[in-house]
Homo-oligomer: 299 residues x 2
Amino acid sequence: MGKSPLQMLMMAMVMSAPASAMAQTASLVPTPPEIIARAPAGAWRAIAPENLVVMELGNGKRIVIELAPDFAPVHVANIRTLIRGGWFDRNAIIRVQDNYVVQWGGADPKRSIPKGVVDRPPPEYERPLAGLKISPSKARDVYASTTGFADGWPMASDGRAAWLTHCYAMVGVGRDLPPDTGNGAELYTVIGHAPRHLDRNIALVGRIVDGMDVLSALPRGTGEIGFYTDAEQNVPIARTRLAADWPGRDQPHYQVMRTDTAPFAEYADARANRRDDFFIRPAGGADVCNVPVPTRKAP
Amino acid sequence: MGKSPLQMLMMAMVMSAPASAMAQTASLVPTPPEIIARAPAGAWRAIAPENLVVMELGNGKRIVIELAPDFAPVHVANIRTLIRGGWFDRNAIIRVQDNYVVQWGGADPKRSIPKGVVDRPPPEYERPLAGLKISPSKARDVYASTTGFADGWPMASDGRAAWLTHCYAMVGVGRDLPPDTGNGAELYTVIGHAPRHLDRNIALVGRIVDGMDVLSALPRGTGEIGFYTDAEQNVPIARTRLAADWPGRDQPHYQVMRTDTAPFAEYADARANRRDDFFIRPAGGADVCNVPVPTRKAP
């Protein structure tokens, strides 16, 4: 019973959540990708140029990061200063640990930190809940009393404080032992199952909005906890720039789905209750990291 | 304040959960890797040769899989028949979708399924809870009333039925729309955040116990939902064999940590409540997929 290529594709498509061609299946209810695709322009917010980072690798590939100043303002200010001071230029990715993190920025320990970087930022591991407009998830959570989304970010709360959650593609600041909080010179992103035990132990400062597949497919390091054992293995970073500093009209523009909208609520519900033809038994819920917030290049 | 390479290593080490050299840090309490490292021989069970699959890629790399006949006996019997019938030999990995799955076995739709394969296995998506000895987790779960571990497998239950959970590295059977359950000729493994919404919708048949980093680092496919768009991109599988059929004394031997032991309970508790020096605020819990069951080559 060899399947035809079309059958194979169908089979694989219906297995998929983030696919974009689900309309070709016969589902009577919209799938999460369909909901994203038909969301109106007003369901998206632009990423401010001051919060948009483009990291160009030596191989010409681009990683695009959104910074989260509302959650870690001093760390984010540091990262902007590091970028503008050239810290990440001719730097490298030095660690890839399977099902955990990719880490960059520490290729040359002799390099000087640019002037203006706060050496020991405050522990921006959480912030007051007040001032955030949260769209709560109904799903139970292991790590917090509530989870949800605020201004396009996945987050958790204990009813008093709120914090970003360590979901796939979130970006954090490597640090030494407490009370050090890291100055932003070494960053990592999550490439595996959400290590939520790191929540409130490290400053999260943003997320990858494009190029995640470049980072996640890097060869795993064979040294301790995924360090490359030889500088030859390091993945060179050519240059890192803020979109705000981009010359001319080539400035990149990205968008994040607004999480306080009806389309996002419909998307999140569809992620939690898959009703398309493939599914026999909808889960009835989805943990906060199993509802990835859609991002895209501005159309 | 450039850090020395040692400081950088320290910093990275303490950030890590699955590291093996944590003893070099100054923690007063054992870390999860330390607990694994000192677990006595009795804390491990051997993987039966009939359940151990070695898949050799064309590039010489090896993927080792443990099958789970207690959860999906007909599917597992099919997979053994497919292996012994040469189905996976000179076959290929054809799909790599970021933060989702790697899929293999369907490179040539014209190839005939070996004789003896049950074309439409029963829906082995769950099994009776009775007969399983479960070590329950105290963590709340979004997708099931209880989660825990049985005989080295991550699982969930509703008090009546029990099922394997779609954690990182678990292996499942691709299928078409219901009532098809897939015959085992196309398999996938999870390479991202646990897609638990697939639980009880697909037959899980095992997990990768070695070589996971080979699969997870493959280039992502650029076709729909991660399919390679050109057969040239497929990753060739040279040969797949059961350890039981291995000639001579080179037969591979692997072990899984027993999940009904004090060392596993200590490990799971340490994953949920990180007390080593790096952590400021232990999580107080860990979802079932954030407690990866340790596996290793037999010492």
